[in-house]
């Protein structure tokens, strides 16, 4: 195996254009997968393109219209950053990714590029309407995440491209978002279902805006657009139970696997959505 460790983006993009390489950020998806492959007698073929020397791609910065999250920003960077309440759910998701040591290495962009259906970063980033910026020697482009992650382990990243940043618009108002995850135990666990939400109430307690996304219940995490539209103007009360039961399951396409059956996932997603709506009633939860 060979490895390249460029020190600036131009060199990295030149290497990427010249040959087939596997980009490497925090390595928390890449190395465990490689260790498993080697154990089964499938030695790694692709050279690694280690991005960790590209200091220009680090950090989280405020911009005119929101935030720029560098491609090397880790989950720990998100937890430590000063961010408005709309990012609370992203911080909660960050704390759920592996343990502290994984959060110190793993990146948000790596989580997206790996494109696992259970990636915990995507639901919150979908509802924050984040865009991913991709660079190659040919062009730069920005894509909404539903145009970037298109299937289980599938993205629209071209073979000569690297992701360089996430752009996240300033979230609406000062409304806290929330992330809830169900695993088969409390810690260090892959999501069976995960729900992210940002629900704002008006002065009279009716729902003014609702953005809700679900992960691990379809090949790619998705927004619940039918539910979002139906919630506007409603009060948070028992009447929402049938609404959730009607609108959530049809939006999902969960699978049966070792972690749970499709039916269980549908039910779990409904419970998490209801819990999230209840909590948006009762105010800000610790980020």
């Amino acid at each position: 195996m060979t490895m390249f460790r460029p020190e600036n983006l131009d060199d990295a993009l030149a290497l990427r254009a010249e040959r087939e390489v596997l980009p490497l950020a925090g390595g928390t998806d890449v190395f465990p997968a490689r260790a498993v492959d080697e154990a089964w007698g499938r030695p790694a073929a692709l050279p690694l393109l280690d991005l960790s020397g590209l200091f220009e791609l680090r950090g989280i910065a405020e911009t005119d219209d929101g935030y720029r999250v560098g491609t090397l920003a880790t989950w720990s960077d998100v937890i430590r950053a000063e961010l408005p309440a709309g990012f609370d759910g992203l911080k909660q998701a960050a704390r759920e990714v592996g343990g502290h040591q994984i959060q110190n290495r793993g990146t948000l962009v790596g989580n997206l590029c790996n494109a696992s259906p259970a990636a915990d970063g995507l639901p919150m980033l979908l509802l924050l309407e984040a865009e991913i910026e991709l660079a190659s020697r040919r062009r730069r482009r920005r894509l909404l995440l539903d145009e970037f992650v298109t299937g289980n382990r599938r993205t629209t990243l071209a073979p000569d491209e690297l992701a360089v940043a996430l752009h996240i618009p300033r979230p609406p108002g000062d409304v806290p978002s929330r992330f809830l995850k169900l695993g088969s135990r409390h810690y260090l666990v892959i999501s069976i279902a995960a729900v992210a939400g940002l629900v704002a109430l008006d002065g009279a307690g009716a729902i003014a805006t609702a953005r809700i996304a679900v992960g691990a219940c379809s090949p790619v995490a998705c927004r619940l657009t039918a539910l979002e539209a139906a919630l506007v103007g409603r009060h948070i009360d028992g009447g929402l139970v049938p609404l959730v039961a009607e609108t959530v399951p049809p939006a999902l396409s969960p699978i049966d696997d070792a972690r749970g059956s499709a039916d269980y996932r549908r039910e779990a997603a409904c419970v998490l959505v209801r819990r999230l709506l209840m909590e948006s009633h009762s105010g800000r939860v610790a980020a």
Binding site: M1, T2, M3, R5, L24, G26, G27, T28, F31, P32, A35, V36, A39, A44, L48, D50, S52, S76, G98, G99, H100, Q101, I102, N104, R105, Y187, L188
Partner: protein, 153 residues
């Protein structure tokens, strides 16, 4: 081949390693610092936890080359001569280990967690140890040992 230079336990070290060499392999095979263990190789168990620039990482998930220029501390680097680090002493006092395989990683994670959560309560300690697995102790005495250091203030 890659040439890497870094600081390990306060000493400058350099080595020529194969590109694919992981930090844990550099520590164990090249520098003979075998206190850092490999339990799983897939970033789950935490036996390989070391500090890199003051933060805990799983050294099976870091290429040696990625640690170039970094300041790394391993379990061998925390005692003060013959005096154990308070966390090591607390693990001894509280019988916080049985076979000892997980212990170096536990101790390194525990030091890091108390740095971030001074005086941590039991719930915080249990939550923060999520990346470290122990197959012997049932965690009880590990948590007790860390509480001892947390409350010693």
């Amino acid at each position: 081949m890659a040439s890497v230079s870094l600081t390990v336990n306060g000493e400058a070290v350099s080595a020529e390693v194969e590109d694919r060499t992981l930090l844990v392999q550099l520590l164990r095979d090249h520098l003979r610092l075998t206190g850092t263990h490999v339990g799983c190789d897939t970033s789950q168990c935490g036996a390989c936890v070391v500090h890199m620039d003051g933060r805990s990482v799983k050294s099976c998930t870091v290429l040696a080359a990625q640690a170039s220029g970094a300041d790394v501390t391993t379990i061998e680097g925390i005692a003060d001569g013959d005096t154990l680090h308070p966390m090591q002493q607390a693990f001894m006092d509280n019988h916080g280990l049985q076979c000892g395989f997980c212990t170096p990683g536990m101790v390194m994670s525990a030091i890091d967690l108390l740095k971030r959560h001074p005086g941590a309560d039991e719930a915080t300690i249990r939550r923060e140890l999520e990346g470290n697995l122990c197959r012997c102790t049932g965690y009880h005495n590990i948590v007790k040992a860390i509480r001892q250091v947390a409350t010693a203030g």
